[in-house]
Symmetry: C2
Subunit: 663 residues, 2 copies
């Protein structure tokens, strides 16, 4: 068998596993795996450093299938190269309940799936994050321990999504030379030829952002190999345009959108078997081809062992730090530092905006945790995300710990996902809360994957004032609380801000967001307690026995709730204030705890400078809600609070009216 014949057989193994799995599932996308099989075969058999038996080897090359609908390409590769999580029955159970081989690749379903993809463009931006992490860790631990490539296979859809521009311009700026993007340039999308909706010269576009660019025939293994070798030597990230035929090998569907997203059908499959000379039954890979693939899976074994020897030879402290960070454990210094700091806060009672409180606690966090990597989408001074420890990373110096992500909220959020997925670092990044809308698709994927990324979301209500309704979040806290597995925090003061940061950092399997104010707030927590009270999601901040009125509030409105309580108490209406920094954590508490917190007051009030949605869980549908029911306005914030009736007066008046009505 010539080398080319061998290549073809190995690529055809991918093609037929994909064709047959899609056919059996009666749904899925055969076109991409068929078209990109040659690229993937070259990459996995000759260049990618990976070890299926040690799939989490920290210095492995990363491979991201950004065009996630082509999931069968990845599943085929994982099965063929010998990953234990995917066997042939999993391929046969493609897209079935409980199978690791979901419709789109899902992180955590099987080793070798480096990230969840499907929503287009995300994988590319994740890969940028992974390449950032690699450069950063190389700068920190040396190329002995971190020196790998990140490859992403992207489709036309990835490149049409706006997030791709944020990703490629950031990567080009940072000169991420070990990032190699392979474009499956098949000229086809769901609606037909790409030419019906796009005329972009992608090579020129990437070049305009400082990328090294190459173009090859995506079915010529030697040309693909030469391009990858050239890319590996580049001082800039490399974009390789690989001209391919979607559905390669299908006599009647190749090169057309008919091959993209549905089974080929039995007749066409038979014709494709003939055309490509593949005579085996569905899900059968001839043993010499499977053996060749399994050998490819062993290729990097030596390299991995050499890396382990190098790690073993390192100073014990460096080794243990490196290993700890890749396990995702926080440094031992963290807990005492944060506990001491919280005690100090309760004593000092600072009156600061929670964005400032966040900066203050970050100073402690960044001092104790070398693994944090900060940043902001061009709002550093407003988000208060930079501390004394975090010097900026520059294209030529990755020793810093701060990224100027630029005005790229979406790219930032998705790159943060990639950084967290890579391992060894805990990314946090800031923007205005209102612009979480821009990064929402990436936030959702972080929640779906269960990874630790932390979003610093300042200017969290009409309290930002004059910038007006375009910048005033109203529905955003509710909308972020809606995302499953996402911890949305809205702390009320500096103490709660520290507690919420602690919870976010300690939540290894959840992303978090912190909604923080622009305006100053008093410290409302008077006593230091051992427990992290925010960990309960909601807690009795100002208790009262047999309270007539319970006021539930979050963030900046806790101060207002306390003022109302003082006045209602003074009027003889015993009033309790419950601080609610995190709905998600409250829902995780015992039924008993939740009942006790919700209580049995005659009057229940919720106060938040946002919409009501979600608060009925505390106050019932007949409770009183003091907040927003539409967009904000431009003006000084104190006037806005009055205008929209979010005041102690309003709480007192509403509670009184209800108390009297009840009598």
């Amino acid at each position: 068998m010539t080398s080319r014949d061998k290549h073809n057989s190995m690529a055809n193994a991918i093609r037929f596993l994909s064709i047959d799995a899609v056919e059996k599932a009666n749904s899925g996308h055969p076109g991409l795996p068929m078209g990109a099989a040659d690229i993937a075969t070259v990459l996995f058999t000759r260049y990618l450093s990976f070890d299926p038996k040690n799939p989490n080897w920290p210095d492995r090359d990363r491979f991201v299938l950004s065009a996630g609908h082509g999931s069968m390409l990845l599943y085929s590769l994982l099965y063929l190269t010998g990953y234990e999580d995917i066997d042939i029955s999993d391929i046969e159970n493609f897209r079935q309940m409980g199978s690791p081989t979901a419709g789109h690749p899902e992180y955590g379903h099987a080793a070798g799936i480096e990230t969840t993809t499907g929503p287009l463009g995300q994988g590319l931006a994740n890969a940028v994050g992974m390449a950032i992490a690699e450069r950063k860790l190389e700068a920190e631990f040396g190329s002995d321990l971190q020196d790998h490539y990140t490859y992403a296979l992207v489709g036309d859809g990835c490149l049409m999504e706006g997030i791709s521009q944020e990703a490629i311009s950031l990567a080009g700026h940072l000169k991420l030379n070990k990032l190699i993007v392979l474009w499956d340039d098949n000229g086809i999308s769901i609606d037909g030829a790409i030419s019906i909706s796009d005329s972009t010269d992608q090579i020129k576009r990437f070049a305009a952002s400082g990328w090294h660019t190459l173009a090859v025939d995506g079915h010529d293994p030697e040309a693909i190999g030469r391009a990858i070798e050239e890319a590996q030597k580049s001082e800039r990230p490399t974009f390789i345009a690989c001209k391919t035929t979607i559905g390669y090998g299908s006599p009647n569907k190749a090169g057309s959108s008919k091959a993209h997203g549905s089974p080929l059908g039995a007749d066409e499959i038979a014709l494709t078997r003939t055309q490509l000379g593949w005579s085996d039954e569905p899900f059968v890979v001839p043993s010499e081809i499977l053996d060749a693939w399994r050998l490819a899976g062993l290729r990097s074994n030596k390299e991995r062992k050499a890396w382990e020897d190098r790690l073993a030879g390192k100073d014990a402290e460096i080794r243990s730090t490196f290993e700890r960070r890749f396990r995702g454990e926080l440094a031992g210094a963290f807990e005492p530092a944060i506990e001491a700091y919280k005690k100090k806060l309760v004593a000092d009672k600072p009156k600061v905006a929670t964005r400032k409180a966040s900066e203050m606690v970050l100073e402690v966090i960044n001092g104790a945790l070398p693994e944090t990597l900060g940043g902001s989408a061009d709002l550093t001074g407003s988000n208060n995300t930079k501390t004394s420890q975090t010097q900026p990373i520059t294209p030529d110096d990755f020793s810093g710990r701060y990224l100027h992500y630029g005005i790229r909220e979406h790219g930032m959020a998705s790159a943060m996902n990639g950084i967290a997925l890579h391992g060894g670092l805990i990314p946090y990044g800031g923007t205005f809360l209102v612009f979480s809308d821009y990064s929402r698709p990436a936030i959702r994927l972080a929640a779906l994957m269960g990874i630790r990324v932390i979003h610093v979301l300042t200017h969290d209500s009409i309290g930002l004032g004059e910038d007006g309704p375009t910048h005033q979040p109203v529905e955003h806290v509710a909308a972020l609380r809606a995302i499953p597995n996402f911890q949305m925090f809205r702390p009320a003061d500096a103490v709660e801000t520290a507690e919420c940061w602690q919870l976010a950092l300690e939540s290894e399997n959840k992303p978090s967001g912190l909604a923080l104010t622009r305006q100053n707030l008093p410290t409302v927590r008077n006593d230091h307690v051992e427990d992290n009270l925010c960990s309960f999601g909601a807690y009795d901040l100002a208790p009262a026995s047999d309270a007539d009125v319970t006021i539930f509030a979050s963030g900046s409105e806790v101060e207002i709730a306390l003022e109302a309580k003082a006045r209602l108490d003074g009027m003889g209406h015993a009033t309790r204030v419950v601080s609610v920094p995190c709905f998600e954590l409250f829902e995780e508490q015992t039924e008993e705890y939740r009942s006790a917190i919700i209580g049995r007051s005659k009057v229940k009030v919720a106060v938040e400078a946002g919409i009501r949605q979600g608060w009925d869980a505390f106050i019932g549908s007949d409770g009183i809600f003091i907040g927003m029911n539409g967009f904000g306005a431009s003006g000084p914030y104190q006037e806005l609070y009055k205008h929209f009736g979010i005041t102690a007066d309003a709480i007192v008046a509403a509670a009184e009216a209800r108390l009297h009505g009840d009598q």
Copy 2:
């Protein structure tokens, strides 16, 4: 006074109105108006066709300040050129409650504000939509009635946001030759020099997407003028890079981020007055300069009158159609057509997916309303957005009524905003509901502006099946309901789909979204009634007197609710089913109606294949919710419904348990 001196004085009027307004408000962004004053002066005094006394003249040029933080540039221009909505007291009241001069330009606050901007990149994409509308209407009504330019002034931030790539690649593809984008290339963002976060060659980037590109000194009026003239003649959209100095004229802050987003301060303002030779008091524009500006405001008067003569000379039917469409009124043919169609549906009882039902009613709508402009973000066959009337628009032929927007959900949504803002057309566009996350910032702005755009959001739950959790919306219906002034519909069958489409079209001042299924659903509406029942937001679909159980459901779960009702009825538990196609409309009903619909059943159940958030308003916090509380999974949809317990069995069991518990 030389022409250059006159230009300088006129530009300085913008600068000092902006400087002084920001100073008085003690917040705002002086840097952009100071830097871009020369560009704006050239454009408004020599090229822009506009008539401040007839600001809504349909064939005026459109001007979009995409860098909305520079709002004082626009307010200054509107005041200086004589728009009646902005007088000098409004300039003095910049950023104050109730003033039209909000922190960022808000559509509807004053004539001449063509769109709401501030969230970066949106204005650019709006402008693309406006230019699409112009080309489309020119094709339809002739260049006698539509032949104008669309100008957008964009900043670095606009160009870093991903949405800009979607906008420019779409514009380049469509060869929108009357779109002229002026880039305020000042090299500065909030965090400092652009060079700390970006190295993109913007000229090359735009060229890669087929734009005509030019670069000029943004402080040289003649160079700016020549570039605009060249742009006007181009066969492609033109990008003019205008090199400017942010905060131009400020001796100590010009060219630095210090000029960007805060008042210059009294001392620096005095120095700037000296440097630019401006001796007048704050808010005083010398009369000869104001006169010169007012004359500029009269420049297009003749042109506007000639246009009116041309319109008057048109065939009466064309004229009335044109005028009707710019008033935003629906064609008279619409109502009878939709009423007849709804009657037919009730008789035919089709069993189709609501996405298919949407296509069916669109066939009627597009037949009756020539103003609809359809499209999809590359999911035409899945969104069912194309009908027999809607041939695709191509770069060389805008006579069609359908846009292949490409894989650009965000760009599509924002372009749709621009199309609606332009007037004369009603845009609708499709994508998967889960990808509404990508377009969310544009959806929010449509709601804030109160404009009629319609989002067709198919594959609206786990009911899409095998594509899995990356594609299965769970929180999206709740998250879209959270946006104020946005009508989120989730119809249960073909009849409700027709009703919801009707409501969306008749809502001139609200954007709408329709969540539609992939899977087939039976027709649940048996009788034709004159009222549009969906207009109540929630209504008694299957009433029962003295019901023990009320089941509230939306969309595909109404069928399940009806099945549960039949079984509970059979067990002797009188059960009522309320269909809830639109929360927003329900909230607008009278207290009496709402109480009657919510009713007093012992057991209240809500069923929706999404999260609980928001449903407590119907069932109370102690009601039974049957739905999702986390992400979905990949598998056949019937299995998923069973797996997640969204079944009639589950409803019956939960209701029974509660009924027995109550006894």
